[in-house]
């Protein structure tokens, strides 16, 4: 039904694109083979953002990562926003489109955060409908990302991995496995990140994310990790990532660094570390 362009990101390292890195990337991208943009930053009519994106798209595979569809929300999807997204995807023809298992809008307000949802039969049906609607509107398969969570819903009856696997089965979507989110959520939920990875529907994974987090504590002194994308990837996340790659083989891997963004060489060095792990897993 859909084209398979969701599979076209190269099984190599990419980075989240930041405009301040434009000149450095065009001069020497180093190990970076592809770039990811936040869809909502490229919905203007023109100017530098679109000009840079057109120039980048001539040299790099581009992944469009949405942060505003509110796929996990109770309300119907914002069709005006879906139309903007379709316009972007139609002209850019990106290698991949991904969104989040989360919600971000309610009652006409956009909260600019990835908010959690309970995992129940009712939410499963609604999220599946939303994914169907997005895939129909865009005419392509999408990837859905596992969230970093800070709390749980007492009413949840599905594990997150089963919930995601069932969404894949019902909609044909694929998954974006954010390894930092696994580590953050498992620490916060006091579960085992390796068990989560073990239960994850790895056949459906089309992309991986790596990013940094902050360490805080909850009211009872338990560790509470915050997914802030403002720091280097920590060693335990690199180890989890190496385990995933050993099982999955080389897969498109993104370094996400969205706040307190460092100079390009710092980001390129993170991408180089991912590249080493990817290269070690390539068949010889």
């Amino acid at each position: 039904m859909f084209d398979t362009s969701a599979d076209r990101l190269p099984p190599a390292a990419g980075t989240g694109y930041k405009p301040q890195h434009f000149a450095a990337i065009m001069h020497d991208p180093g190990p970076v083979a592809w770039l990811e943009i936040h869809a909502e930053n490229y919905m203007g009519d023109g100017g530098r953002p679109l000009a840079q994106l057109r120039a980048l798209a001539e040299r790099f595979a581009i992944s469009v990562h949405g942060v505003g569809l509110s796929i996990g929300g109770d309300e119907p999807l914002d069709t005006a926003h879906l139309a903007r997204l379709r316009h972007l995807v139609d002209w850019l023809k990106p290698a991949s489109f991904s969104e989040h298992l989360a919600w971000s809008s309610h009652g006409g307000a956009f909260f600019n955060d990835l908010l959690p949802l309970p995992y129940t039969d009712a939410t499963l049906a609604r999220v599946a409908d939303h994914i169907d609607q997005v895939q129909q509107a865009l005419g392509r398969r999408m990837l859905l990302e596992n969230p970093a969570t800070y709390l749980a819903f007492a009413e949840s009856t599905w594990s997150e991995t089963d919930f995601l696997a069932e969404l894949v089965r019902r909609t044909g979507c694929r998954l974006l496995l954010d390894v930092n989110n696994v580590f953050v959520a498992a620490t916060n939920q006091q579960t085992d990140p390796r068990a989560y990875i073990g239960a994850f529907p790895m056949d459906a994974v089309g992309e991986l994310h790596l990013g940094g987090h902050d360490e805080q504590a909850d009211d009872h002194g338990a560790p509470l990790l915050i997914d802030n994308h403002a720091a280097p990837v920590v060693d335990p996340v690199w180890h989890l990532y190496a385990d995933v790659i050993a099982r999955l083989g080389p897969a498109p891997t993104l370094i996400e660094w969205d706040n307190d963004v460092p100079d390009w060489p710092v980001l390129a060095a993170e991408a180089a570390r991912a590249t080493e792990i990817l290269e070690a897993a390539r068949p010889r």
Binding site: D45, Y150, L151, D218
Partner: protein, 241 residues
């Protein structure tokens, strides 16, 4: 639990988070909910810091953050596209008692919004300057670039805006100031212009022929100067006679 239960507590710190949100021991989520509250307010405040640097410079970083968090709770974005978030900020500033003694802030915010709109406006190719050298120029209807903006203020808004961005800028003096916003290339430029030139540009924006725009501008207009400024700004994209 629905998002309708969750959403109100995100922007209202006085609202108790909904029941049924738990920590790993099954206890109420407590500070864990505050992570989301904090993300929402800090993230949206950050969008205003990026969008209104001169306002921040004028009121100070600490005050700006406090004021912005009040604004974002009362006026969260209505669209996931944040590039133009803050359209309500000037009106908010006009009604926010702690800044009642700074009545020019709203116009400075309008200038910053106009610059942001210009940054994201559609691209358009300027005309060849030679086309202005026609004897029939007065009969012409001019098309202006989508990035063009005009702000008319009762305050010396351009000078105050500059002072907000650069504490070393000359102290703002005088009264009303009109500002032309153009985008030569990709970076918007704000230029103060005389009142006659502002009348002229406003008439052109309304679709008037140059002849009619000249009549509206009056005798004080330096036509060559405003046309040069518009051409330098890449703002004249069509000329129809």
């Amino acid at each position: 639990m629905s998002t309708a239960d969750f959403a109100p507590a995100l922007t209202d710190p006085e609202t108790t988070p909904p029941r049924g949100l738990v920590d790993p021991e099954g206890r109420p989520a407590g500070a864990r909910f505050d992570v989301y509250r904090n993300n929402v307010v800090v993230g949206l405040t950050e969008a205003l810091v990026t969008g209104f640097p001169a306002i921040r410079g004028l009121v100070g970083a600490e005050f700006f953050t406090a004021m912005a968090s009040t604004f974002v709770r009362a006026h969260p974005p209505t669209s996931p596209v944040l590039t133009l978030y803050g359209a309500d900020f000037p009106a908010f500033l006009e009604g926010f008692p702690p800044v009642a003694h700074l009545p020019y802030l709203a116009d400075v915010a309008r200038l910053e919004l106009a610059l942001r709109a210009a940054y994201h406006a559609a691209d358009a190719r300027p005309i060849d300057p030679a086309r202005l050298e026609t004897p029939d120029l007065e009969q012409a209807v001019v098309t202006l670039a989508p990035a063009l903006g005009l702000l008319r203020s009762a305050y010396p808004v351009h000078a105050i805006w500059r002072a907000g961005l650069d504490p070393a800028a000359p102290k703002a003096r005088g009264g009303a100031q009109d500002v032309l916003i153009t985008r030569p290339g990709f970076d918007p430029v704000a230029t103060p212009i005389p009142p006659a030139a502002a009348h002229f540009v406003a008439a052109i924006v309304d679709g008037a022929r140059i002849e009619a725009a000249l009549a509206r501008a009056g005798d004080d207009l330096d036509l060559a100067a405003i046309l040069t400024l518009l051409m330098q700004g890449g703002a004249i994209t069509g000329l129809e006679i």
